[in-house]
């Protein structure tokens, strides 16, 4: 096995009582990769991410990060949930710094990265505002910033733009790509929006209906910035759509 494998998932299975949600999933994610997981709604995508960050325990199987069992306390993992999850009592700036302070980074590093993130995400003007004073999309930007600020080895994103309108989504998708390229983080992005998956990822993991298994790993080797109207883009999008059809 080559050394640049960041995440190794082997035989991952999750049952809730008798309900089998994930069935024997195995795959690898390379360091610095941007992988999207697509699948029908309710197929267990979120369960899968929750297993990765130990919010849930697998019924069987293993998740290894850098060849060690995944552990958010040991590994530098970050998670962006579907709903904005900024801490309401911290300002935008303090929210972005929170994860870095937990990891006890040096004050000058924290300061430098905070400035980078605030600038990159256009949040400098609201740095002293509280989440309550922001729109949902802006709050989600804060959460994304908080995650990238940690320069995570692995960043997990669970449909973070599901509730955004299309204009904001396009903007934030570009922001994420920019931050991914800047920080070199490995990103695992869950979405049910296939256009989003093709636009963002280097590789798409296509899941089947519940109990979910991997139907196919599809490499997306389109040049960036990607043109959603190009022939290759549409071809890939339609191909993946066909793969997740269960009817």
């Amino acid at each position: 096995m080559s050394d640049d494998v960041k995440v190794k998932v082997r035989g991952l299975t999750k049952k809730f009582g008798d309900l089998l949600v994930l069935d024997n999933i195995s795959f690898d994610i390379k360091k610095g990769d941007f992988v999207c997981i697509v699948g029908p709604t309710g197929c267990g995508k979120t369960t899968f991410l929750n297993l990765l960050v130990k919010l849930l325990e697998p019924t069987s199987g293993q998740i290894l990060i850098d060849n060690e069992p995944a552990d958010p306390k040991k590994h530098n993992i970050s998670f962006v949930f579907q709903e904005p999850s900024a801490f309401p009592w911290l300002t935008v700036e303090q929210n972005i710094q929170y994860g870095m302070k937990i990891k006890k980074l040096a004050p000058e590093v924290i300061k430098e990265r905070t400035e980078e993130i605030l600038t990159a995400l256009g949040l400098s003007d609201v740095r002293n505002s509280f989440p309550r004073e922001l729109s949902a999309s802006m709050e989600q930007r804060v959460v994304i910033g908080r995650s990238f600020a940690m320069h995570p080895d692995l960043l997990l994103m669970d449909e973070p733009y599901a509730q955004m309108d299309i204009k904001v989504r396009y903007y934030l998708e570009d922001q994420v790509i920019k931050l991914w390229q800047q920080t070199g983080s490995t990103v695992l992005f869950i979405t049910h929006n296939i256009e989003e998956a093709v636009y963002l990822s280097e590789k798409c993991l296509i899941l089947t209906n519940k109990p979910a298994t991997i139907r196919e790993e599809k490499k997306i080797d389109l040049p960036r910035p990607r043109d959603i109207a190009s022939e290759e883009f549409i071809e890939l999008r339609e191909y993946i759509t066909k793969q997740i059809k269960w009817w």
Binding site: V53, L55, P72, S78, F79, S85, T91, Y98, I102
Partner: protein, 259 residues
């Protein structure tokens, strides 16, 4: 009516409401055999007790006696109430051990404790403080507990995935998220605390606003009773306003404005 005029009404209406209350009060106090003192009599009695002592103390000393009891009891109630509330909400083991006893004692009205506490502790300061403590403790515990339980799991999960350990989750995530609920509990506790201090003073005290009310009753001095009742109302209102301001200071993210 445009919105500016509507706004003006919101300022005028409370004044009208108070004036109507005073008019009604005057009206009820007019009959010669009325047991209700007129506003003028009440005001004069109030002015009198501000300078002439009853039981060797002027009004402000009596107010301070009551207030001191409330504040001491409150300090203990807040400390222990928040501790118990957080314990009940945060730890299942703690909940299993303490909740049955708490649920058993909680419905007992604080005033029902008065006889027993007087028997145990006599009629000094301590029994009054204990009664106020009982009266305010429960709502602080319940609100803190509800506050911890109501924390959005998403926020706790966000803390977990950012790598916060159990101590950090409690002190840096759960507790800040619960402060508004704790403050709401303190506000509720304030009214029951005052109720208890007056009740305790009415039974056994030499100073305090409740003591003055009993003095009024024993000497048929209705003006003194009403003046003291109004004093209780005003002091409670001032404390409530102070707490509202404190909410803005302690939770700027919830009640204040940064822009």
């Amino acid at each position: 009516m445009d919105s500016k005029e509507v706004k003006k009404w919101y300022y005028v209406l409370p004044i009208i409401s108070i004036l109507m209350f005073i008019v009604l009060w005057i009206f009820l106090s007019i009959p010669a055999d009325s047991m209700i003192p007129s506003p003028k009599e009440t005001w004069l009695r109030f002015a009198d007790i501000c300078v002439h002592p009853i039981s060797q103390a002027i009004l402000i000393v009596h107010i301070w006696s009551s207030l001191r009891r409330v504040l001491i009891a409150f300090a203990f109630a807040i400390f222990l109430g928040v501790l118990l509330g957080v314990g009940l909400g945060w730890s299942k083991t703690f909940y299993s051990i303490f909740d049955p006893v708490f649920e058993l004692l909680r419905p007992i009205p604080p005033i029902a404790w008065i006889p027993l506490i007087i028997l145990w502790c006599g009629i000094g300061e301590l029994p009054k403080i204990i009664i106020v403590f009982i009266g305010s403790f429960v709502s602080i515990v319940l609100n803190t507990y509800a506050g911890i339980k109501d924390i959005d799991p998403l926020i706790i999960n966000a803390g977990k995935v950012l790598g916060a350990n159990k101590r950090q989750l409690l002190f840096e995530v759960a507790l800040p998220a619960t402060i508004p609920a704790i403050l709401a509990g303190i506000r509720t506790a304030l009214s029951s605390g005052w109720m208890c201090v007056v009740a305790a003073e009415m039974i056994a005290a030499r100073q305090g606003v409740g003591f003055l009310i009993v003095q009024g009753q024993q000497s048929g001095d209705t003006a003194l009773i009403v003046a003291c009742m109004l004093v209780i109302g005003v002091v409670s209102m001032l404390m409530s306003t102070f707490l509202s301001k404190m909410e803005g200071v302690l939770c700027p993210w919830k009640f204040g404005k940064t822009k």
